[in-house]
């Protein structure tokens, strides 16, 4: 069985470095405002493209640029600029949804992936988009059997993309699910004039709601007030079935998530994809990956999501993350001595002790996790370090000045 491509989210340089280190085969990211994370604080700019491509090509990682919002007339100039910049910088492909973007990218010879925002749910839609795209991301609402059938039809009918190769199928493997059909939600637009389909979703479906009968004033008894907030998708437990169905690319959601999240999710799915390919995918490993995935941001996992054709209705019972670990800011790196692999850290808040799990994160460092096994404080070995202390510790992997240090602890 060939190994599936693991595509990780890169919402920042820190996440980009992290994704590469954790084993991503490709990364996807947005620039400027025409992408589904337009609201995010740290979107890349067009001027960041050369650096992103340089880093990725040095590491043999493919680059996918998202241009997948709905487009208005006034967006066409910027859309074309983004596509031109993608072409000029040799981005592997653009991920697009609006016909205008598909048409333009195709006209300048860019490789195209059809975004899940297009909600492709049947073979005829795949056949139509094959005129433009080599990879199609299927709707997140299909069952595994429906996906399998689409892939069989692609092979049977020899549906080729512009490259002359069979159209590949990509799926979302892990991360947030929408309450609405992919690319069709207008809830945030209706309540806050903030269109999810322009990357400005306010995620108001994630809040707790009461349901009241206006006529009688009676409130419906709901055992879970988070009536519109689905748990997160997690397919690590049946990745063999997904890859066995012929899915080539596994996309991990989370451009708005931290580098730490990107690290854990990428690492687990890369290991799982390798294990499936090598025939060493076991129940024990699945349990270990699932536990590891639970340590980072999640709303509880919906194992199977829509893919297994399970009955719908696994709703999150809480607001925010149910990660088993939480991260506490401790301080930052003031120096790193490369020859001896020693980091100097100032503790700005809280305290740390021997045995604590720490990690460093920064734009060029990505995420480096380490255990505090020993450290020096004022030239002597220490056990506990507190606010105001500057300590030196051995960290094998290179850290950089101003990298932030976090303590990872059980919730």
């Amino acid at each position: 069985m060939s190994q599936a491509e693991i595509m990780s989210p890169a919402g920042s340089f820190a996440s980009l470095h992290t994704a590469i280190k954790a084993g991503a085969n490709s990364v996807y990211f947005g620039i400027e405002q025409l992408n589904m994370r337009a609201r995010a604080a740290n979107n890349f700019k067009t001027s960041d493209l050369p650096e992103i491509v340089r880093i990725c090509s040095e590491n043999n990682v493919k680059t996918y640029l998202t241009v997948n919002t709905i487009l208005y007339d006034h967006d066409l100039v910027m859309m074309k600029k983004i596509c031109d910049a993608a072409k000029e910088n040799k981005i592997t492909a653009v991920i697009a949804s609006d016909i205008a973007a598909l048409q333009y990218a195709h006209s300048i010879g860019l490789e195209i992936h059809i975004s899940t925002q297009q909600n492709v749910s049947n073979i005829e839609a795949v056949r139509f988009f094959a005129k433009f795209a080599d990879v199609v991301v299927l709707a997140r609402e299909l069952t595994l059997n429906q996906i399998k059938k689409i892939i069989q039809e692609i092979k049977k009918d020899n549906i080729l993309g512009p490259s002359g190769e069979l159209v590949k199928i990509e799926l979302f493997a892990h991360g947030a699910l929408c309450v609405a059909i992919s690319g069709k939600c207008y809830m945030s637009l209706a309540t806050d004039n903030a269109s999810a389909n322009r990357g400005a979703c306010t995620q108001n479906c994630r809040r707790a709601y009461r349901v009241t009968d206006e006529e009688t004033g009676e409130e419906l008894v709901v055992d879970n007030k988070y009536i519109m907030s689905p748990k997160d998708l997690c397919t690590i437990g049946f990745l063999d079935k997904i890859i066995g169905a012929g899915v080539s690319v596994l996309k991990l959601e989370g451009r708005g998530r931290s580098a730490d999240y990107v690290h854990t999710v990428t690492k687990c799915y890369r290991e799982a994809a390798e294990a499936v390919a090598a025939g060493t995918y076991t129940k024990e490993k699945i349990e270990a990956w699932t536990a590891e995935l639970a340590t980072v941001y999640n709303r509880g996992f919906w194992h199977g999501g829509y893919y297994l054709g399970k009955e719908l209705g696994e709703w999150s019972g809480e607001y925010g993350s149910q990660a088993t670990k939480q991260n506490e800011y401790i301080g930052h790196v003031t120096n790193y001595f490369r020859k001896t692999s020693i980091a100097e850290i100032i503790i700005e808040t809280g305290e740390i002790k021997i045995g604590d799990d720490l990690f460093a994160t920064g734009d060029n460092t990505g995420v480096v996790k380490f255990k505090l096994e020993n450290f020096f404080l004022d030239g002597v070995p220490g056990k506990v370090a507190k606010k105001g202390n500057t300590i030196t510790i051995p960290v094998t992997e290179r850290l950089r000045i101003n990298d932030k240090i976090f303590l990872s602890k059980d919730r």
Partner: protein, 85 residues
């Protein structure tokens, strides 16, 4: 008649077009990058300021209230934020 000010933090504009619909006299979409421009404004580093009269206030308050990314603010002559009043 006292003057009010509009402050526009342009960097985070997603080009949704709402402000130009509410107050076309004060807002237009830039032909090159698809983001909104505040007309007759002074500014730098992506923060723009323009004075408006009270006659233009209501339309621009609607623009501020409907901005999906909250980057339009309206201040009265005393500097108080009256975007949502």
């Amino acid at each position: 008649m006292s003057k009010c000010k509009i402050i526009h933090y342009r960097k985070n504009c997603i080009g949704c077009n709402s402000c130009t619909e509410h107050a076309p006299g004060n807002w237009e979409i830039d032909a090159t990058d698809g983001k909104a421009n505040l007309k007759r404004a002074n500014g730098k580093d992506d923060v723009f300021i323009a004075e408006i009269s009270e006659l233009e206030l209501a339309d621009n308050q609607r623009a501020a209230q409907d901005c999906p990314v909250g980057i339009i603010h309206i201040l009265d002559a005393q500097g108080k934020d009256i975007s949502f009043e």
